[in-house]
Amino acid sequence: MSTASASDVPLSEATTSLQRSASFTRLKESGIRSLLFLCAALSILTTLGIIAVLFSNAIYDVSPRQVGRDGEVRPNEAFFQQVSVTEFVTETRWTPGYTEKHFGIMPLVCGTLMISGIAALIGLPIGLCSAIYLSEYAAPRTRAIVKPVLEILAGIPTVVYGYFALVFVTPYVLRPIFQDMLGFDVGVFNAASAGIVVGIMIIPMISSLSEDVLRSVPRSLREAAYALGSTRVDVSTRVVVPAALSGIIASFLLAISRAIGETMAVTIAAGQTAIVTADPLGSVATMTSYIVNVSKGDAVIGSIEEKSIYAVGLTLFLMTLVMNIISQFVLRRFREVYN
């Protein structure tokens, strides 16, 4: 009896089939799955495409040689096949449109950094303060009003900001203060007005990202601080903000990379003078505004001037990429603290 093997025991009869059936539901299921995958893949493919275009035009041309109707071989070389990286990085003049061409990215980087710097000066403190207000102070009803208003600010087309800088900030804010009172020269196009409106533009982004991280600071931490005799200001500035610091910094970095990439407002308000300067009241050119101006101008396709926008674009891409990577890294560190 004890030796009875498993085979001696009869198996119960199958009552329902467990066989896969190729039903319509199953087809639909896999169809939806593929569709979703395609959507996700599309954005990756787009990014790869952009990188390929930048690479081919800026670093190494991979397209086949083109021969014109007259039998002439078109110059078919990427930007850095014609201009050395050393010149690009060290030269201080940027004059692709002139007969004497110089390709030093420095003036454009300088203009971009100046405007981003001014934008950061305006946007970071105001954005952070509104985040603190929304997360620590505002009653739910106030929040329900302030948040949508900030979101509207984020939805205004950037071209509107550009004209706002041109027709309001410069004549009614900068001129009265810097020109009439302090005696500086304020140009029609200037970095300051562009920086200010870009600063306003990034406020909603900073405030909503920072508010999220402030809110994710556990309530228990705030209670502990209150129980130690903190005022509300103590709780926000000494406990909540420090606890959320890396998240806040990450939101700053994202906002700054948005400011660096900002195009329309800057093109309209900052002018088109590619020089290395420290004067925020004069006109500057940024990387983005240069790209816009070449694309809407009459640069010959395939010319070095046309190729230069890809080199500038690549630089821009690398700068914002680095900022985004840093901020992702910082944000991840923040999450680790509380999980």
Binding site: A224, G229, V239
Partner: protein, 308 residues
């Protein structure tokens, strides 16, 4: 010791730390179960047992008088009256959701920071109504400190955690801060374990160490009363024992109110015990007699585990 709005009760002499508090339940009011207006599900309303402190060495530090408490329209405390004797441990016990934490948090007005809460009745700290509009709640919370169930170290260094309270109170002197940090950690029996790494993050401490850090942090604000809401419930037995030893030590100098789900713990550390049930303070008494000889049926059912 106490500086702020001074008060009546303080009877100065006979301050020798006597572990025993004599608490006698006056079951006088037992005859008249008061009726209240609110729609309560319960059919009969248990009677509030008032404790009378007779031992002159333990004056009443905190007195709750007829406290009702509401979250919005939801009433969770019903006419709670309790005297908390100074320099002793009072344990609050009762099933989950019966209002122990809520009651504890009315004592240092922590409930103020929750929207839509409301109370009636009085909380007197040394005779002063802590809800009086003239009271500075920040000063109140410095004198009535609180330790939470979940340890809540700030993501700062150990030193900065302890120094936090004195710093927000305006103390800037480095030497004085260092001194406070050291004595607080010593009193919380944590000094020896962390004295070599005061500048490393408090988040890196073990759970038990974190909880003692939180106690030390509370001590650093120099409170008279310490409220503890299940301070050891998240700790292993060994850490729990350490925290209990600590509570036993601390009661020499501080008035302690502790919420606990652990009957043995209440019996071990407290001199007075208050049993809450569905928002009502059912019975208060000297811990020993409450556990050995409860007067109310509900208390008996709860402490013997026959509770439904």
């Amino acid at each position: 010791m106490n500086s702020s709005p001074t008060v009546v009760t303080a009877n100065d002499n006979a301050q020798n730390e006597e572990p025993r508090v004599d608490v006698t339940s006056t079951d006088a009011a037992a005859a008249t179960p008061e009726e209240s207006g609110e729609a309560s599900v319960r059919t009969s309303r248990p009677v509030v047992a008032e404790s009378a402190i007779t031992d002159a060495s333990h004056a009443v530090k905190v007195r709750a008088k007829n406290v009702d408490f509401f979250y919005g329209t939801n009433q969770v405390l019903f006419d709670v009256s309790l005297d908390i004797p100074e320099k002793s441990v009072t344990a609050l016990i009762g099933p989950s959701g019966c209002g122990k934490s809520t009651f504890l948090r009315t004592l240092n007005r922590m409930n103020d920071i929750i929207e839509g809460t409301r109370h009636t009745g009085d909380i007197l700290l040394e005779g002063t109504d802590v809800y009086d509009p003239s009271i500075d709640v920040v000063l109140l919370r410095k004198r009535v400190g609180m330790v939470f169930q979940k340890s809540t170290p700030f993501p700062k260094s150990i030193f900065d955690n302890i120094a936090y309270g004195p710093k927000v109170a305006g103390l800037k002197n480095k030497a004085k801060l260092a001194e406070i940090v050291e004595t607080s950690l010593q009193r919380a029996a944590l000094w020896d374990e962390v004295k070599d790494r005061l500048n490393s993050s408090a988040m890196a401490l073990s759970g038990g160490q974190q909880q003692r850090l939180c106690i030390a942090r509370t001590l650093a604000t120099d409170p008279d009363v310490i409220l503890m809401d299940e301070p050891a419930s998240a700790l292993d037995p060994k850490s729990t024992a350490r925290v209990e030893d600590l509570i036993f030590e601390l009661k020499k100098n501080y008035t302690i109110v502790i919420v606990t789900h652990n009957m043995q713990q209440a019996a071990r550390v407290s001199q007075q015990t208050a049993f809450f049930f569905q928002g009502v303070l059912v019975e208060t008494g000297d811990t020993h007699s409450l556990f050995t000889n409860p007067t109310e049926k509900q208390t008996e059912d709860y402490i013997t585990g026959r509770f439904g």
